[in-house]
Symmetry: C2
DNA sequence: CTAGAGGTACAACACCTGGTTGTGACCGCC
DNA sequence: GGCGGTCACAACCAGGTGTTGTACCTCTAG
């Protein structure tokens, strides 16, 4: 591709060869191989050089785009890179939408979005500079944050109850946390010690709920299948969670109010990170409004 | 790249190897080579397979984009291709803007824009199916078009006079074609027999102008340099022409009216071309309004 | 604790891709 | 008609890239 573009730009194989520090014959071979692979002629060879054919003209912008894509790909892992690298906790959850909104507001800022395994990995990556910012729930009071790590509460996400059509709350406009005592809430996949598990542990303790985290987690779809078919099992999701709604399944998302349990998403970054786009991200996110009538775990207050 | 994406998708080198019909060792080598070139680790190797590192996660979408770009590039020259291939007569001239506008209106339609050498090449390419449509001025009456070639007048582009600050018309709000008789109009690069040359020949004959097409054509910039410095030499450009205005040059673009000479751009296509996007292009362009008070050559009436 | 299964990396080797050098054919121009 | 400039072809060679065989690691089951 590089050879093709060079030859198209200069119009002479010898010049392209000089630019690439190879011989004219090598350029000729490369172009011939590309033409063979594509099955079309890209140049018409004349005594005054090589001119693009129609196919070659159509191909050229795509070839340039390919080189740009290659450059961007390499830049995405270059140590002195420009793209802002952000960790979100699951691509279908609310923070991913926050990042998407930021990208729409600032399309000129290059973003790389990754998803780290757990909060420890995220802390370590932020501290080491491998990533620039991380969306996490900070389970420690601010004064106990590691040195040099800053955090800002950016979004309090209300919880919703997901039930099937035969569930007792299936028709409710909303439900109070206290009313859920004694009902089966199933949340497979919660790993003890993680921020999510901590959140739901505290939620269960605060309102006398029984949250079952037992059983292997086979993904969201089997969970929803179970919930849809059961009259007694329900589960929680964040308001901003994008569920893959299986066709024909009659699931209900029921707001939880009085009080509204909210999951406290924070943005973490290294205080001395000089990345210019980091300021833009923080400015765009602002800080979460603490709504009245909401509940958060003790550690988030 | 393909190997990296396959390994990232499957999470196991052996599975990626099966998908690519190579051995696991080859996958290992390819990934190792990519990591060496990039200077970062892309996978953490575990006993249960390979998991992406943070760098790997950031790199993955770029790698996918690269593969998509490669696919698009190959598709652009595939015989049974999908992209609509359109010939415009110069990238800075009005038809290129028409195509850009069409692309904005229908961003989902893939376009390849090429520029053919002359009208004969364009005719031949349309007839052979190498390109799908061509913007040209048709110098033949419609009934003499080759069999199977259709044409539609899509845009009448008014001409403008370009002068330097010391030219006698430099301060005019507009100028009549007849007033230009006896003044030097310089249009280097007109090749006898081409559509442009025919147009300007007819224009000169109709209003008694003297248009000098002599001298080699070194590009637009030297032409504008000459015009800017001269008190007597002017040139014509189409209203939609994008001029590269050299900084500090005081050039004037003066509309020509009473009558307004307009250059008749037509769209040519093969009547039996089944490309679905071709209809969309014709619908978007519509047909040119024949304004009163305009002048076109005899062959365009 | 050990053995085995399942995963990746390393080593040795064969092949063929892709470079170089040398040369020929073609074209336009003086 | 020679000459300069262009690209293509042939021969050759090195090294990149595949294969096979094997070592090594880690997790798990007994």
């Amino acid at each position: 591709m590089r050879t093709f573009v060079a030859a198209a730009d200069t119009g002479r194989f010898q010049e392209a060869a000089d630019a690439l520090s190879i011989t004219q014959q090598a350029v000729s071979k490369r172009v011939a191989a590309l033409e063979r692979d594509l099955g079309v002629r890209l140049f018409t060879r004349t005594a005054r050089g090589a001119r693009l054919t129609i196919d070659g003209q159509a191909f050229l912008p795509h070839a340039r785009e390919l080189l740009r894509a290659e450059e961007r790909a390499a830049a995405s892992v270059r140590p002195g890179r420009r793209a802002l690298r952000v960790d979100v906790i699951g691509r279908r959850l609310a923070p991913a939408d926050l990042v998407r909104a930021f990208h729409r507001a600032h399309p000129e800022i290059e973003l790389d979005v990754v998803t780290l395994f757990d909060a420890d990995a995220a802390f370590a990556a932020v501290r080491s500079g491998t990533i620039d910012a991380s969306f996490r729930a900070v389970t420690l009071p601010a004064r106990e944050l590691p040195d040099g790590i800053a955090a800002l509460r950016v979004y309090d996400e209300p919880l919703q109850l997901v039930t099937g059509p035969r569930h007792v709350f299936a028709g409710a406009r909303s439900v109070r946390p206290g009313e859920l005592a004694g009902h089966r809430i199933w949340m497979p996949g919660l790993v003890a010690g993680t921020e999510w598990a901590t959140f739901y542990d505290d939620l269960a303790a605060a309102f006398g709920l029984t949250i079952e985290a037992t059983g292997p987690h086979f993904g969201t779809e089997p969970l929803l299948d179970t919930v849809a078919d059961s009259a007694t099992v329900a589960t929680f999701v964040g308001e901003g969670t994008r569920l893959v709604w299986p066709a024909g399944q009659d699931l209900r998302r029921i707001p939880v109010h009085d009080p509204t349990p909210v999951y406290p998403h924070s943005l973490l970054w290294r205080a001395d990170n000089p990345h210019p786009a980091l300021g833009a991200l923080r400015a765009h996110l602002g800080s979460a409004r603490r709504e009245v009538g909401t509940w958060t775990p003790q550690w988030a207050r």
